[in-house]
Amino acid sequence: MLSEKFNPRQIARLGPRATYGQALLEFAKVNDSVIAMSADLGNSSGLDRFKATFPNRFINVGIAEQNLVGVASGISQLGYVPYASSFAPFLACRALEQIRMNLGYMASNVKLVAIGSGISMGYLGNSHFGLEDAGLIHAIPGITIISPADCIEVVNAVEACARTNDPTFIRLTGLPNSPMVYEESSEFEIGKAVEIRPIGDITFVASGSMVATCLSAAKILEETGLSVGVVNMHTLRPLDETCLTSIANQSRLIVSAEEHAVTSGLNSVVGDFLQRNKFSIPQIKLGLPPKFLENGSYEYLMKRYELDADSIVKKILHELKQ
């Protein structure tokens, strides 16, 4: 397993982007098909060492995300597995139609990696935020969507997505020193959610950065005598419907959480699943409001939009009183 090559604490300090670059480098050493691609954000994607180690397997297409996706698709036709990274909106918004034609319609075996997704870009602002990326990509059929919960899971996702020929979109949330979910190398299977805390009366279904936050919230809530589960729904598609069914059958309240606009992405996908299957379990949706956000640091914004553990606890307790 690739993640065994990494020290979880060390990569947590590096953050998801640098971890991605290192993971891809280590993976490329054992998988000759791996190609790294960038649209002038190679260094921001932690790919400087990859570039130095495998100059012939690194392609920079310049600041041209549409071309990034199209060229990656062409490269994949001869059996290479291109990993192409850029900031979330530059991929999912700028190159959306290229993604639709190539990863969607043609199902090209391209792995897109959206770095700095959610609102981790802080003061860089809405132009750089990944507010809609998961929702937009989910609207296109057939693309696997993974949102790793921490840096170990970033490594796992990089490795796991090459086991299939499925087009894949990996969205990286969080920053260097973001809380770890996994203390050591962990098992990972695309489409198989992980019960980090067993399903409880209340169960969180979270992805990306929100997994760690929900874990903190669950610990606080449990002090009040509630039984609280936390599920890491790291794969948005294919959705682990078996896991969701168990939660719907066993819990009294489901709380979905994603660092993403609340109107699409994980919150919607979970809600849609519950409605389609006529589950009556109430759902609280935790995410960012469907608007362009105010300016501020990452921490400030997460609190401002009530995605910190304390705000989440308050919201759930308030809901339970209703």
């Binding site: 297409v61 199209g70 060229v71 990656a72 698709s73 062409g74 036709q77 001869l78 290229q98």
Partner: protein, 284 residues
């Protein structure tokens, strides 16, 4: 490159067959078809499949094959007919054009068994895809070539220029682009809709070598492709063509960009195309 000797007469005969077949299939599909833009590329397709492309009809997925991308995907009907004319696409598939549950419709859908390398239709996608193919081909030390056919209207798309820039930067010499310069796009002349001054110079400024030819003249097409293989830069062939070429009432008439042909018009058109392969109209 294909070893078959270059036989102008044969190619002209194939080109006439392709035009007639396009009309027949368009008529029986009973809706509008992109006839004008299919007709403008008939000689190019005929040359590619009848002479230039190194492909194996009995092994369409052969890894070392040359790859042709129809980036101007709306000319799919002409493409399918050419694939059938040269034995790559089965006749039965061509006959199913635009029928319910058919595999072939107005825009190409990737199907390697039928020689369709990529899905197109939305413009501005094929060159980037071709650049990726060319890069991977070189990385694998394969000798095969990549040919991408674009429309002149399609060159309005910014993504075309992103791809052009990258082909030159990546020093790809195994890719040839052809621009079907028929001077018309959906809303009118390229001049009136979005003028690109001296398009060959624009390509040159992006690091490509440009060759301008008459896109209906096999000798010129052949010369351009042969030259393209000797140049140490990506090469674009600006093929000046006539939209609707070969049928008087269709030539330069943009109603045939996406038009419906009736039985009466079909007969008139076919009579103009005729069967005389010595007819010199096709080489202007």
């Amino acid at each position: 490159m294909n070893e078959i000797s270059f036989n102008q007469k044969d190619l002209k005969s194939h080109a006439a067959n392709i035009r007639r077949s396009i009309l027949r299939i368009a008529e029986q599909s009973s809706g509008p078809s992109h006839i004008g833009g299919s007709f403008s590329i008939v000689e190019i397709l005929t040359y590619l499949y009848g002479h230039y492309l190194n492909i194996k009809i009995d092994d369409p997925r052969w890894m070392q094959r040359d790859r042709f991308i129809l980036s101007k995907g709306h000319a799919a009907l002409g493409f399918y007919v050419a694939l059938t004319e040269f034995g790559i696409m089965p006749e039965s598939v061509l006959e199913s054009y635009k029928k319910d549950e058919s595999k072939i419709i107005a825009h190409p859908i990737q199907d390697l068994d039928f020689g369709i390398e990529s899905s197109n239709g939305s413009l501005g996608h094929g060159l980037a895809f071709g650049v990726g193919l060319a890069w991977a081909t070189r990385a694998k030390n394969q000798e095969n070539r990549i040919v991408v056919l674009l429309g002149d209207g399609e060159c309005n798309e910014g993504s075309v220029w992103e791809a052009a820039m990258s082909a030159a930067h990546l020093q790809l010499t195994n890719i040839t682009a052809i621009v079907d310069a028929n001077g018309l796009q959906s809303d009118g002349t390229t001049e009136s809709v979005m003028k690109i001054n001296q398009i060959e110079n624009v390509w040159k400024s992006f690091g490509w070598e440009a060759i301008k030819i008459n896109g209906h003249d096999f000798t010129e097409i052949d010369k351009a492709f042969k030259t393209s293989q000797t140049i140490s830069a990506p090469v674009v062939i600006i093929a000046e063509t006539t939209k609707g070429k070969g049928v008087s009432f269709m030539e330069n008439n943009n109603e045939w960009h996406h038009g419906r042909i009736t039985q009466t018009l079909l007969e008139q058109a076919v009579s103009e195309i005729g069967s005389n392969t010595d007819d010199n109209r096709w080489s202007v």
